[in-house]
């Protein structure tokens, strides 16, 4: 069967079965995009409570995507909830034995994160995905 036919079959199936909820939750993702020429470390205590690892290594020009637990919010992540979650975010680089942190003023407001609301998707019960993207650059590190 052609891919096109499969996609149509899935969409039609979803049309009649996939939208049986009045207020489906958004999928909220926090993404750290490493635009530096070296690997960076991301410590995200609030989101890593249920993970085995609390520190993520993000290679140059790679993205670390963290999906917020939907129990943390109602339909979407409010600004206050977003700020609470990122309050313990630490981004740093280990360079020649030195640990250099990104100043929190680069990411402690919601407006400092690029926000992209992707509509019309129906992914595992989520009507849409709300992406919060922080682009980390070399200039953000205080030395």
């Amino acid at each position: 069967m052609k891919l096109q036919n499969i996609i149509i079959a899935v969409l039609v199936f979803m049309a009649f079965t996939g939208c049986d909820t009045d207020y489906p939750k958004l999928c909220e993702s926090l993404e750290i995009e490493n635009n530096c020429d070296k690997s960076i470390e991301v410590s995200f205590e609030a989101l890593s409570k249920k993970d085995s690892s609390t520190i993520h290594k993000v290679y140059p020009y790679a993205v670390d995507c963290l999906i917020v637990d939907s129990n943390e919010y109602d339909l979407w992540l409010s600004e206050a909830q977003f700020l609470t979650i990122i309050s313990d975010l630490k981004i740093y680089i280990v360079d020649d034995g030195d640990t250099v942190y990104v100043n929190t003023s680069h990411y402690n407001k919601i407006t400092l994160w690029e926000n992209e609301y992707v509509q019309d998707y129906w992914i595992e019960g989520y009507p849409s995905v709300n992406r919060h993207v922080l682009k980390v650059t070399n200039e953000m590190f205080n030395r």
Partner: protein, 262 residues
Amino acid sequence: MKCLTVKVRQMKFLKELIFPVIIGYSLAACNPAYYLPTKQNVQVFDKKGDIVAGGNLGLYGTIGAEAGYAFTDHIGIYSSLKGFNISTYGGSEEKVIRDYIWDNEFILYSKLKYDFYAACNFGVGFGEFDINNPYYELKLNRQFVQPSIGVTFFDVIQTSLSTRFTRLDYTLNSLAINATPYDNQMMRDYFMFGDLDHRDICFLEPAITLGLDFGGVKTQFQYSRALNIGGGSVRNWDQNLFLSFTFNISAFFPSPKHGINR
């Protein structure tokens, strides 16, 4: 060779017309909407003193009740309440009433020669969407003019063409406490409001009605469309079908003037 050409044409037809419709419907069916064509009241009065009451059913869980009175042979008033459910995700598939529009109309009508009928309805309506939801309050005011023309065949079969010119005015309030501009924008994105409360939105709504008039009882089948013709945009369903029954109560209680001569 000819068979192959036909097959290619069929595939092209499927790709260009059927597939987009299927994909569009499958995506849109889940999403909320904030306007739809509602039943247009046509050929409702015959003469002075008519008291009319009835109900109707339509797509998207539409259910309505209506009543009217003809003051003279040319002037009447009509009120109709329509309930439906289009404003929630997947709402159009449910048979729950969460949205309503209540219209009140002033009708000028005239029975013409050769069983023709002409009317013009001037209406104002107000409505609300997703009543008592905890996130927002969305109210609608609308004003419309609806000219119509109809004809009756064999004293029983009626057909009408009508067009409603509608202006919509939405009022949106967030119910969130201490909402920031970001939170308000998220509410708009999530519920797909767009800028519906910032602009006057205009619709053109043509309809065709076929009916049977048995004197005291009238049944009508109506197909109507809603075409956004300017102002702003709103997510809407663009067509609807209705089946209605109305009873001319005055016909069941004839006045002495219309009674049987002894």
